[in-house]
Subunit: 515 residues, 2 copies
């Protein structure tokens, strides 16, 4: 058995049985080993940003990591933005980066680079396996790290892949259960909730489950606290039957307003809320000055158990939650715009759908509009690096082949990793892509104003830099070129029809919405 | 004047008057300043890999750096592969990376990352400007570094952009001339050339000019030496009227054969030849064991002057070079294949064209076939990170608006940065893109054999990972979707016609060659 076979054996033994890849020469022994070791599925992306984004979407929905297989420093570079997003979202990620053979390092060949150096800033753990007989142990450690919500990056020199590794599969790693929240923190939270002050509970972290929203809502009703989620929770259960929560607004101005008056903030998986960007005249921290913050639970801890315990401590186990009813909006008529698109989406959203949201400005209305839709999961862009949505939809669909995935995409962000469409077609994934095609970087027009640059009004050169409508892009042509059926819609009736059909059809469909 | 205005003033004063960008919120004051400071042209890419690749192609042809403007760590990550290629090719590159305001660093906002950490492995110089009053000096230093053939990366926090910077434009940097080659190295080379041993002269580095090929050829004729270029010189002048040189083959097996028997190797801008990748049974160094190597000139040194001087020392100023004649091949008939495509290209290649070569396996015949074509420049992929060709063509066309650019692209590599087509259309660039569409990663099929993995024969999973023909991609659809006229050709007559028309038409054209 060679090192590559030992590696794949170890991964499969530990439940990592899907590998997203775009391989190169230094990974050929790994690729060869896919046919020697049973149990590993391999999904090809045409660009590494697709690979890492798909691994992110998969891990969010599967609750366990996939592997990525990447080609040296440049392959990692191409993947980096979506590795960053995964890291910020506490998403399990296991990267395997092929490197030159250890004997080849001395030559500074064209593809030589400091892979560990590039990986460091976006990984919790980076390790280079130096010998084939170590690969099983190293792979098991990588799985352990990734399963704990970390980005684990294992560098695999070519001669470690092709060298003899008699060990076979490495140890099976015990999956770490979530750690319980310490009692003293529960007592502190209890004290805060009983203090009679204006209190917020903010849910966040890797997975805001429906149960979490219900428990938090019951605590809120028992104590008068308000319940929030952070702006971009990694995964959140929503729709009919989930507990009522407020989402912290993206715009710092509105977020400050939402948190105004709070005297206490209990963070449950969420981080202390801060502004996405700095602005000349706005504070970075969003909670009011003097607001007392408690970190009740970190993302890796057992949040449901902590909330249950808190409810008991509050003597409030009989308090019922404030639950979103099933309340589908009427199908809209009139203009095709962000609101009518959102309304149609809320109407048609299938039960248990997965919504991957990178709709940016054009898609902003979809989140509030779907609060009382059929129950569903919503995945957010956690690190601010665009080009995440289409790949994440690929991964989510592979994790949940029996569920419908709807990907909301801005035109600008879609163009970052449009190659994901090809993988959707190749793997026949049931994904409906909605492109909010407004032919501009709408978010940047807004941000230009907010930064106050040039009095908030772009001159001609700046305006041109924010305008991607010259030339206009035709997403139907581009999708077809990659094997995905697509249609352009210019009226709300066309959109409703296209959406209904797409959600009923097998395989991927793209709807190019001309806003 | 704010920091951003001071920065742009300094760049323009130093001749850096083109900026490739995909900006974000942290760069809005820079974008705003484009309208306040005259003289800076700004070209938008839909993805940062386009931005850095275009800056590379521009610098190779303009002989001076452009600036890139990138959005935080993820934007740099997206650009990284082509920054790597530029670094390996000794190409001047000046990256400006926007960062959060210095006051915002403490908050670990979603887009916070260790930008300097990511930049380090692909940059010769990384510097964070901490105060707006320093930006002019810092920018001048970045220009000085880049102009010397380095990758200079300047990190620009948002508050340095928007803060007051009374200094205005920074100092104008004297462009460093190429350093002369020291006399003792010339004497050593002279000794080697007179030693009666089998000697090779290998040209390489940033720019193998026509004059260099002629001088090297004269030295070779005077001494019996052989003249090579390295496998992928950054830029090389070729075709009728240039001096005869052998290109070192890509495949290590053939390269070993080409250098076999050499007792001495004089490196002129080129590095000591090494195998692109390691293979279980091949050496890494390509020159024969015991071959005496001399570095006559580094990439930044005055190579033409050194070769002239050597010719004088050899008393050979009257020796004439071995020159490629103008010898256009007949237009081919018969099958559409790599050879007939190459033959048509050699026939039609316009005088003074720029060929950007990322044709990988499908385009391999084009280089030898064009040896006696009209004189032209040939740009190679210097770092092995695919996704360079289309962006580099953008930059080359902007540097030389009066010349024709032909971009040879593999289907697999084209899909890495296909967004470059949109910038070609937006800027109306005279680029002819030839896609060698063989629906597979042909180079990896070859490399799989060469590594000997699984006896050299891929199993079904491996074969699937190297096959990008399921689904087939239609480059005509994708190009049209980005505003570029395109046609598919399935016969050699269709190709000849499409190529002739494309080379005569204004603006970009894409030809999808079904091999």
């Amino acid at each position: 058995m060679n090192g590559a076979e030992s590696l794949i054996n170890t991964l499969v033994a530990n439940g990592v049985d899907l590998c997203f890849t775009n391989p190169g020469t230094s990974e050929m022994h790994f690729v060869a080993a896919l046919d020697e070791v049973p149990g590993m599925r391999c999904v090809l992306g045409l660009f590494e940003g697709v690979v890492s984004g798909a691994a992110d979407g998969y891990a969010r929905m599967a609750g366990k990591p996939a592997a990525t297989l990447l080609h040296l420093g440049p392959g990692l570079g191409n993947a980096l933005a979506n590795v960053h997003n995964a890291r910020k979202g506490h998403v399990p990620m296991l990267n395997i980066i092929g490197d030159h053979a250890t004997t080849h390092r001395q030559f500074d060949a064209p593809l030589s680079s400091d892979i560990a150096g590039i990986a460091g800033p976006v990984s919790h753990w980076v390790h280079t396996c130096e010998r084939p007989e170590h690969i099983a142990e190293d792979a098991a450690e990588a799985v352990r790290r990734a399963a704990a919500g970390q980005v684990a990056t294992l560098i695999l020199p070519a001669d470690v892949s092709w060298g003899d590794s008699p060990g076979g599969a490495g140890p099976v790693v015990a999956r770490p259960g979530s750690a319980p929240v310490p009692a003293e923190r529960l007592q502190k939270a209890l004290g805060m909730l009983r203090a009679g002050k204006r209190t917020g509970i903010m849910l966040g972290g890797r997975d805001v489950s429906g149960e979490q929203t219900l428990l938090a809502s019951r605590i809120a009703r028992a104590t008068g606290a308000r319940v929030f989620t952070d702006t971009f929770p990694t995964r959140v259960r929503r729709g009919a039957g989930t507990g009522r929560v407020e989402r912290l607004p993206y715009l710092a101005e509105f977020a400050l307003d939402a948190l105004k008056g709070l005297e206490q903030l209990i963070l449950v998986g969420a981080a202390s809320p801060v502004s996405f960007f700095a602005y000349p005249d706005l504070p970075g921290r969003l909670a009011p000055e003097g607001c007392d913050e408690l970190v009740l639970a970190q993302p890796g801890e057992d949040i449901e158990q902590a909330l249950e315990r808190l409810l008991e401590l509050l003597d409030a186990v009989n308090v019922s939650p404030d639950v979103y009813p099933l309340e589908l909006p009427e199908l809209p008529s009139g203009e095709l715009d962000a609101n009518s698109v959102a309304q149609s989406l809320a109407h048609y959203l299938p039960e248990n759908a997965i919504v991957v949201d990178e709709g940016i400005t054009g898609g902003m209305a979809c989140f509030p509009m779907t609060a009382c839709a059929q129950p569903h999961d919503w995945l957010n862009q956690t690190g601010g690096a665009i080009g995440w949505g289409l790949p994440a939809a690929v991964g989510a669909a592979l994790a949940c082949p029996d569920r419908r995935v709807i990907c909301l995409e801005g035109d600008g962000s879609a163009m970052y990793t449009l190659q994901a469409l090809w993988t959707m077609a190749r793997e026949h994934l049931d994904i409906t892509v909605v492109i909010f095609n407004n032919r501009r970087y709408g978010i940047l027009e807004l941000e230009f104003q907010r930064t106050g640059a040039r009095g908030g009004t772009p001159g001609p050169k700046a305006a041109s830099s924010l305008n991607i409508g010259s030339p206009d892009m035709d997403f139907v042509d581009m999708a077809r070129g990659m094997g995905v059926s697509a249609s352009t819609v210019a009226t709300i009736d066309e959109f409703k029809q296209a959406l209904e059909q797409a959600l009923a059809a097998p395989g991927p469909r793209l709807i190019d919405v001309l806003l």
